[in-house]
Amino acid sequence: MKYIDEFQDPELARRLLDDIHATVTRPWALMEVCGGQTHTIIRHGIDQLLPDQVELIHGPGCPVCVTPLEVIDKALEIASRPGVIFCSFGDMLRVPGTGRDLFTVRAEGGDVRVVYSPLDALRIARQNPDKEVVFFGIGFETTAPPNAMTVYQARRLGIRNFSLLVSHVRVPPAIEAIMRSPSCRVQAFLAAGHVCSVMGVGEYPELAERYRVPIVVTGFEPLDILEGVRRTVRQLERGEHTVENAYQRAVRPEGNEAARAMLADVFEVTDRAWRGIGVIPQSGWRLSERYRDYDAEHRFSVTGIRTQEPAACRSGEVLQGLLKPHECEAFGTTCTPRSPLGATMVSSEGACAAYYLYRRLDVAPARLEASPVA
């Protein structure tokens, strides 16, 4: 496939790997920010092919994983109400809230629908004027523009029975929070290419300078990852800390200006809690004043729901790169993709699920459950 096969070419991968092996002289810890990058790394076994000195720490960039339990519980509450059609991207349905998930709500009679675009939810709202249609708007700078567009369209078309349950998060404040953490081991970042395709690279030079870390905007195919690693290692070995764009086929320096304008109109920056990490200042978006009528939290009066994480889940440490998934006591025993304790075990982009799915050969197989098919 054009733009996919070319970026999985084994021969070109070998050359990049040779270059990395030739460049590295001492240990470095890099963080790939995005869960999609983690998925590629583990799925293709890229971490097995890198020099031992290059450690990849898996970052917090999985939208499913960082959505707080409290927001999931709000979603469950709204979806359970009569007269509501609750629409969501597919992989949110299996994320456990307190005691149940959206699949359970559906089995109990709730009208929960998987959609592939938030605009589909708006269409459902037009087709069902006697129902309240809610879309679960979560994710990073990547999913925010279409969600913003949906609310914008709802207002423009005067569709009153639509609302958005918003829990959007922003990458740069998370990078800052990781760097300020006293236990931080990260020495360089592979920035999330798709986020930069929307936001551009303007937010990063200040971070690179302040924390003296190389930041390389990186794509999602195996060769993209290897090129990102090659450039960060080269900077680290030279003692540099600049922002580089290794994903130029998708990322312009200014990003997508139309999308940014839409975001600025519909959303405003707010403090936001990240699952397993806690509140990061200025790290999220909520609907701005003129769109507040479309906020499902207010429409359904669920702002009062407050919940705590289960103590056994150490996803916060995983998301901060302090713990590898298989080092957690619950990994593969009480916590599996089938019965996840935390969101990092749910989405295939979650670091724990990626390790569970693809890496059970290397990580103490005796601890892992046998296949349920005997």
């Binding site: 496939m1 293709h44 597919g90 699949f103 890496r359 059970r360 197989p365 046998a370 296949s371 005997a374």
Partner: protein, 368 residues
């Protein structure tokens, strides 16, 4: 189910009250008791479906034949070895590029029988119709079903019709069951797989699932692809003509190639290694999966089979498959190995390795 006990006299006598399963003593590591109601994942053909069978169905009515847990049961009746299988069809939409629920209802059961080496002889066909569904739709489904049966050389010998109230069905549900004779000398079971067996797939994977998804409500996308829905009896006969000593066949339907390989690995106690780049994935399938965040290895097929063949016969079997229209693109994708018993491992194109797991429940398109 009186028909079952006639075919299989070893089944327990169900007229006696049966013990209720003790829900507190389940040992499953991912306990079903956490799920007080049926969710869609229980029908996904993956780990959750397997648990449902293991914990509720098998203890309640399982016998020797059911314990085989193959696509079809192999039973002996009056000295004849029969393959016996049933399958229910709840596909939405009813008509999709390359086929319909009528084609699936025939080919699904015919293929389940074929995986035990049997040529399907007779089918039963039960229709569950929803009140209000257009008669022309029922007629189109029936026509398709008849045409598929003729193409597969199988006779629909008995049938049943029920109607449920509007809102209690999804237009048309079909259940078919089928029987066929297993030829002498043929014994296809995962337990026969040994390290060194060659793994062959009969053609490109993921085609049916993507074709159906492309017309599913809310997900319509343009893709130049038609379902691979087809009856595999003829292809299996061509393979068995080379040697009756094939070890196991599976048609990788729900759960895709990954589920079929995992079931074989688990039941045989051998490991399976596949070369990821050898698995044939047509470009439109790869593209659709890339956009939806799905792995083609987990997407359903309806006209493909995967075979574990003794190494000495692999070349001849592959040649016979390629000479058949439904096996033109057959290729070797891997082998059975003594390492990591019960586990399927893929060698990635870049030279890394990864575990290919059983899918859990429903396939869920990713957010981004």
């Amino acid at each position: 189910m009186p028909e079952t006990s006639v075919l299989n006299p070893q089944l327990p006598d169900l007229s006696e009250p049966q013990p209720v399963p003790d829900l507190t003593t389940w040992t499953c590591p991912a306990p079903l008791r956490d799920q007080p109601r049926v969710v869609m994942g229980h029908g996904g053909g993956g780990a959750m479906s397997a648990e449902l069978v293991q914990h509720i169905f098998a203890p309640a009515y399982g016998g020797e034949a059911l314990a085989q847990l193959g696509d079809a049961a192999s039973v002996t009746l009056g000295g004849a070895r029969l393959a016996f299988s049933t399958d229910s069809f709840v596909v939405r939409p009813l008509f999709f590029p390359g086929g319909s629920i009528g084609d699936l209802a025939v080919n699904g059961t015919v293929n389940d029988l074929a995986m035990s080496g049997a040529r399907a002889a007779y089918l039963s066909c039960g229709f569950i119709l929803e009140e209000g569904v257009e008669m022309s739709v029922v007629a189109r489904v029936a026509q398709a079903l008849g045409a598929a049966a003729r193409a597969a050389g199988v006779e629909v010998a008995t049938g049943d019709t029920k109607v449920v109230e509007s809102g209690h069905g999804d237009g048309v549900f079909i259940n078919t069951a089928g029987i066929g004779l297993i030829p002498a000398g043929v014994d296809l079971r995962p337990q026969r797989v040994v390290p060194g067996d060659v793994v062959i797939v009969s053609g490109p994977v993921g085609v049916h699932g993507v074709a159906v998804m492309s017309v599913r409500e809310g997900l319509e996308f343009d893709v130049e692809i038609q379902s691979d829905c087809a009856a595999l009896g003829g292809l299996v006969e061509a393979m068995l003509a080379v040697t009756p000593d094939l070890h196991v066949l599976r048609d990788p339907t729900r759960g895709g190639l990954a589920a079929a390989l995992n079931e074989i690995a688990a039941a045989s106690g051998t490991g399976v290694v596949i070369q990821e780049r050898s698995v044939p994935v047509p470009a439109p399938v790869a593209n659709a999966c890339a956009i939806l965040g799905l792995d083609p290895m987990y997407v359903a097929n309806e006209g493909k089979l995967v075979a574990f063949v003794p190494r000495e016969h692999a070349e001849a079997v592959l040649a016979a498959m390629r000479a058949h229209p439904l096996g033109r693109d057959a290729c070797v994708i891997g082998e059975a190995v003594p390492e990591h018993p019960g586990m399927v491992v893929a060698r990635t194109g870049l030279g890394g390795t990864r575990v290919v797991d059983l899918p859990i429940g429903e396939l869920l398109p990713r957010i981004c």
